[in-house]
């Protein structure tokens, strides 16, 4: 009976805990329904060689990274050195998806900042982006040997993310 006056306090503390968790979450990070689903198929022109096409089917049997980027996207510039690092590690090929971009602008950015991509597919009207559920560039996917999406990150990837999540995941997927 004596502890009754504690009930509002306990309720208040619970509320504070819920709000604290809610506030520390990024509302832009949504769970992707594409995880553990096959990477959507497409076949579109490449960025640097517009007479050649790229299709995810050609990556079957490899673990690879798909990075959605654009020359107009500021966060992509910030992320770029990390991608160069990832490419240097040679753990997995990095394929770019140049999203809603101008060809010259995209090529100029790669010339200026270095090109971490094995190749980039050129998604001029963003239609491929819709199939991949892209809503904020940059976005990064790790796709396994069977063509299944195993990981998705929205927003720029960081060295911490590479070391703590992506490298371990990629090496694990390589073993399968």
């Amino acid at each position: 009976m004596k502890m009754k006056f504690l009930i509002p306090l306990v309720l208040f503390v619970l509320l504070v805990i819920f709000l604290a968790i809610g506030l520390n979450r990024d509302p832009h990070e949504l769970p992707s329904p594409l995880i553990n689903k096959p990477a959507p198929a497409f076949e579109i022109a490449q960025l640097s060689e517009s007479n050649k096409t790229f299709s995810p089917a050609s990556m079957k049997g490899k673990v690879w990274v798909l990075n959605v980027w654009a020359s107009w996207c500021v966060a992509c510039r910030e992320e770029h050195p990390v991608l160069v690092e990832l490419a240097k590690s040679q753990l997995a090929p990095v394929i770019g998806l140049d999203y809603r971009d101008q060809r010259q602008d995209a090529l100029a950015m790669l010339a200026r900042q270095g090109n971490p991509y094995l190749l980039s597919a050129f998604d001029a009207n963003g239609r491929v982006g819709i199939d991949y559920g892209v809503y904020g560039v940059p976005e990064t996917y790790v796709i396994d040997k069977a063509g299944i999406i195993r990981f998705k990150h929205i927003g720029p990837i960081t060295m911490d993310l590479l070391n703590q999540k992506m490298y371990p995941l990629i090496s694990e997927l390589q073993k399968l």
């Binding site: 329904p33 963003g126 239609r127 199939d131 892209v134 809503y135 904020g136």
Partner: protein, 159 residues
């Protein structure tokens, strides 16, 4: 010189904003009406507090265009909704589907209401129990009657 540059800048940005306007694929009002009814129920993922119908972001333009195409192809509303959910998850829907993970969301408010009602009833019952029933004896009743009579006479006595 500065003014000319400013005017040029204004004109330029005006042109840019015109260029961004999506060209409507369907001018027929039936398609547009269906587009609005579908996209009003969906969240724009770029600016999460706007509906897909109301947002001016590039992605929302693209998605509206995609929905137009699918309406033209004769897809049903459910098929179009599924298309969106497969890509962006249940989050695009303002009305999330009822399934185990959303039970708390749907039923939670009613559970809270029930807890509140139960709390109110126990409180009221306890309060009623706290008021002790006093049984009046005949003596008490006579005293009360006398007091009331006195009070009435006092009232009449006052001019």
């Amino acid at each position: 010189m500065k003014q000319i540059a400013l005017i040029a800048l204004c004109l330029f940005s005006l042109g840019a904003s015109f260029a961004k306007e999506a060209t409507p694929l369907a001018d027929d009002p039936v398609t547009e009406q269906r587009l609005i009814s579908i996209s009003e129920e969906m969240r724009c993922l770029v600016c999460q507090n706007e509906s897909l119908a109301g947002s001016r972001s590039d992605l929302a333009n693209d998605l509206r265009q995609e929905i137009r195409i699918q309406i033209k192809e004769g897809k049903s509303d459910d098929q179009i909704r599924n298309f969106m959910v497969e890509r962006y998850g249940d989050f695009v829907l303002y009305r999330p589907p009822v399934k185990p993970i959303t039970w708390l969301l749907w039923i939670g408010p009613f559970v809270l209401l029930l807890i509140g009602i139960a709390g109110l009833f126990t409180y009221l019952r306890r309060r009623n129990a706290a008021v002790s029933n006093i049984v009046l004896s005949d003596d008490d009743n006579q005293r009360i009657d006398a007091l009331l009579k006195n009070a009435e006479q006092d009232k009449k006595g006052v001019p």
